[in-house]
């Protein structure tokens, strides 16, 4: 039921976790937040801290689906000089240290469109990117990037939402591969949280339409919440709460304090421990 005729690190990682009998921790950080060097250190440290899959934000000036935390992260990263090219370079540098942990780039279409879709897919694949989540590309616009990505060996991860009804789900899933991302609330990132029972019902509904793993995100802020969501899905995505740890470890000039990387990775470890303790979903 995958639209891809190839295998990526994402497929291998979910297969491995299935064998282990547990769900995945997916962590989101913005590339280049709070600066390129610190961002690279965080990225490189994520697998060791327990992240099973890495979502790496591509900064955009107008992040319409994001709440204040990730908006601020994008501003920090852009101020620090991040570009899409530099984000790909960060992935490449990461791959020199880790060739197994999947990386999914997440962001908005315009920087990719401006880069050139064909060149971007080629360069992203070469850098070691496994999947793409592009918020403002619904299935209606699949020809823009989803189809070229599939042709270039990259999974295009589709978002589904509480507003995506059973009639629409097949359309959303038609070109899906890698996993399906369930946006658990109607709203922007890092604000409200959905009830676990609602998430469970929604995941069950999506599973009636696909065999792909279902990851759940938006509003998961604590190790307990991550464990609870992981218990009823294939993966819990934590973004804003991590990004807030970065924000909380900046000095008055917005520069990274000495312990920032350890603080962030320490939080990732707590999240990972929570999910691992909840083995057997």
């Amino acid at each position: 039921m995958s639209a891809a005729d190839f295998e990526t690190r994402i497929d291998r990682r979910f297969a491995q976790l299935k064998a282990e009998g547990r769900s995945a921790l997916v962590t989101y950080v913005m590339s280049g937040d709070p600066d390129l060097e610190t961002g690279q250190q965080i990225l490189n440290g994520l697998p060791g801290a327990g992240a099973d899959i890495i979502e790496l934000g591509m900064a955009f000036s107008d992040p319409m689906a994001d709440g204040p935390s990730i908006q601020a992260a994008a501003i920090r990263a852009l101020d620090a000089g991040v570009t899409l090219k530099k984000t790909l370079a960060q992935v490449k540098a990461f791959r020199a240290t880790d060739d197994e942990t999947p990386i999914v780039l997440m962001g908005y279409y315009n920087p990719i469109y401006h880069y050139g879709v064909e060149a971007f897919v080629r360069d992203a694949k070469a850098a070691g990117v496994d999947g793409l989540i592009v918020v403002d590309l619904p299935p209606e616009e699949k020809d823009e990037l989803a189809v070229p990505a599939l042709n270039g060996g990259i999974n295009f991860i589709y978002l589904t939402a509480p507003t995506t009804d059973d009639k629409r789900l097949p359309k959303v899933l038609e070109f899906a591969s890698g996993f399906v991302y369930y946006v658990s609330i109607t709203g922007v990132t890092g604000t409200a949280a959905a009830a676990v029972s609602d998430i469970e019902a929604a995941v069950a509904r999506i599973r009636r339409h696909t065999d792909l793993p279902v990851a759940v995100g938006f509003g998961i802020t604590t190790p307990d919440a991550a464990a609870a969501v992981a218990g009823v899905s294939d993966a819990a995505v934590v973004g804003s709460a991590l990004v807030n740890r970065i924000r909380d470890n900046l000095d008055a000039d917005g520069k990274a304090k000495a312990g920032l990387v350890d603080e962030v990775l320490g939080f990732v470890k707590q999240l990972a421990d929570g999910i691992r303790a909840h083995k057997g979903s």
């Binding site: 107008d62 319409m64 689906a65 990719i112 401006h114 619904p138 995506t164 009804d165």
Partner: protein, 407 residues
């Protein structure tokens, strides 16, 4: 590609005008966007919707608006014969209400309980707050703090009308960021809320729908010019921010090849300074706010801040149909600087006793350049899209006048 017989049948079934337009929207909103498109299609097929809209446009907005022969301006410029389409005389003082009447009737049909809108100059915010008062629907208007400052009278009008005005403090603190915040609100309150977009941009079907509601301007001009002159105009001129007043005037004339059509962008402090809002003259295709359009952006595809003395033109993009008309060459797009618009603002005020909005002053400013080069029998219609009362503080400031002290 074969040449179509008409330039008026866009967008295609994917919401595109050529490569522009489309539905670049988060999944959460996509089902609702389809609902809006379906509801609009149903409304178009319902004579009662047309009847109701016509009733409010006539009895409440005061349409048709006059096509006024600007005799003294014509005389002063010494060339073409200039007519002003007086959208400034509409209830609420601008063309924006043509669209808000249409969309509020649609929102009512859809059973929506709450309205949100973005505004730059505040004219769309006022027009939205007005129809929400009329139909007793709560509304929230997003407005950048930079615009709140320079359009204070409109902010007060919105509040008097019962709207909640939410200041937007991120990014450039103007229209672009107000749109982002409105979209964030919409995605959060997707079940109850209707997003009443004010310009002919955004995700399909909004560019088409807003255009359709604004076409009353051009339709009236056709009939009024026939009556006054026995023929169609030779030249049409309108200012462009997102482009709704312009597309409303232009669209009914697109298939009349003898009618020259000119859109006027804001050149701000000059295109060469980088401080401007001339998306067509200085931008490149990009995707923002649900559609592909010409966009001011840097080499990384980050959206740049626009700059214009006119809050209503201070936007880094432009509606998709204009982008297409630009690419196929049917419409000429020129740019006018802040200082030129200010001079035109004063000129029209003194010559005709009509204070134009700073947005419309850009169109007037181009006519000031163009008219002397045209023969006296060339009929120019310029869209006076709004009145300038809201801009008096900005103009006074630009002219170095302290309103409290040395008037």
């Amino acid at each position: 590609m074969t040449k179509p017989n008409t330039l008026r049948d866009g967008p295609d079934d994917k919401g595109r005008f050529g490569i522009f337009g489309g539905q670049f929207v988060a999944e959460t909103l996509m089902p609702l966007v389809h609902d809006v498109a379906k509801a609009y299609e149903d409304a178009l097929a319902d004579p009662e919707f047309a009847r109701e809209k016509a009733y409010y446009l006539a009895q409440y907005v005061g349409r048709p608006s006059p096509l006024y022969f600007a005799e003294r301006l014509t005389e002063a410029l010494g060339g073409a014969k200039i007519y002003l389409k007086r959208e400034d005389l509409n209830h609420t003082g601008a063309h924006k209400v043509n669209n808000t009447i249409g969309q509020i009737l649609l929102a009512k049909r859809m059973g929506k309980k709450r309205i949100i809108a973005e505004t730059g100059a505040g004219q769309h915010g006022v027009a939205t707050a007005t129809v929400c008062a009329l139909f007793k629907i709560p509304c929230t208007i997003y407005m950048g703090t930079k615009d709140i400052e320079r359009q204070a009278p409109n902010v007060f009008r919105m509040k008097m009308l019962g709207a909640e005005v939410k200041p937007v403090t991120v990014g450039s603190c103007s229209l672009k960021d107000a749109l982002n915040e409105a979209i964030r609100d919409w995605v959060t309150n997707v079940d109850t809320t209707y997003f009443l977009i004010g310009t002919a941009a955004g995700m399909h079907p909004f560019p088409m729908m807003v255009r359709d509601f604004q076409c009353v301007i051009g339709d009236e001009v056709r009939a009024q010019c026939q009556e006054a002159e026995g023929r169609l105009p030779d030249t049409l001129v309108a200012c462009i921010g997102g482009g709704s007043n312009a597309i409303g005037l232009f669209h009914p004339f697109l298939d009349d090849p003898d009618v020259r059509i000119i859109g006027v962008e804001a050149a701000g402090k000059g295109i060469e300074t980088g401080k401007h809002a001339a998306s067509l003259n200085a931008g490149s295709p990009g995707v923002l706010h649900g559609n592909r359009m010409y966009l001011l952006q840097d080499e990384d595809g980050q959206v740049m801040e626009a700059d214009s003395i006119s809050a209503g033109l201070d936007y880094p993009g432009i509606g998709p149909e204009h982008c297409w008309l630009h690419d196929i060459g049917r419409v000429e797009y020129v740019a006018i600087r802040d200082d030129e618009a200010l001079a035109a603002f004063q000129m029209l005020t003194r010559l005709e006793g009509i204070i134009p909005a700073l947005e419309s002053s850009h169109a007037i400013a181009h006519v000031v350049k163009l008219a002397p080069t045209l023969p006296k029998d060339n009929i120019v219609v310029v869209n006076l899209s709004g009145r300038g009362d809201k801009d008096l503080n900005t103009v006074a400031h630009a002219l170095g006048i302290n309103m409290g002290v040395n008037l």
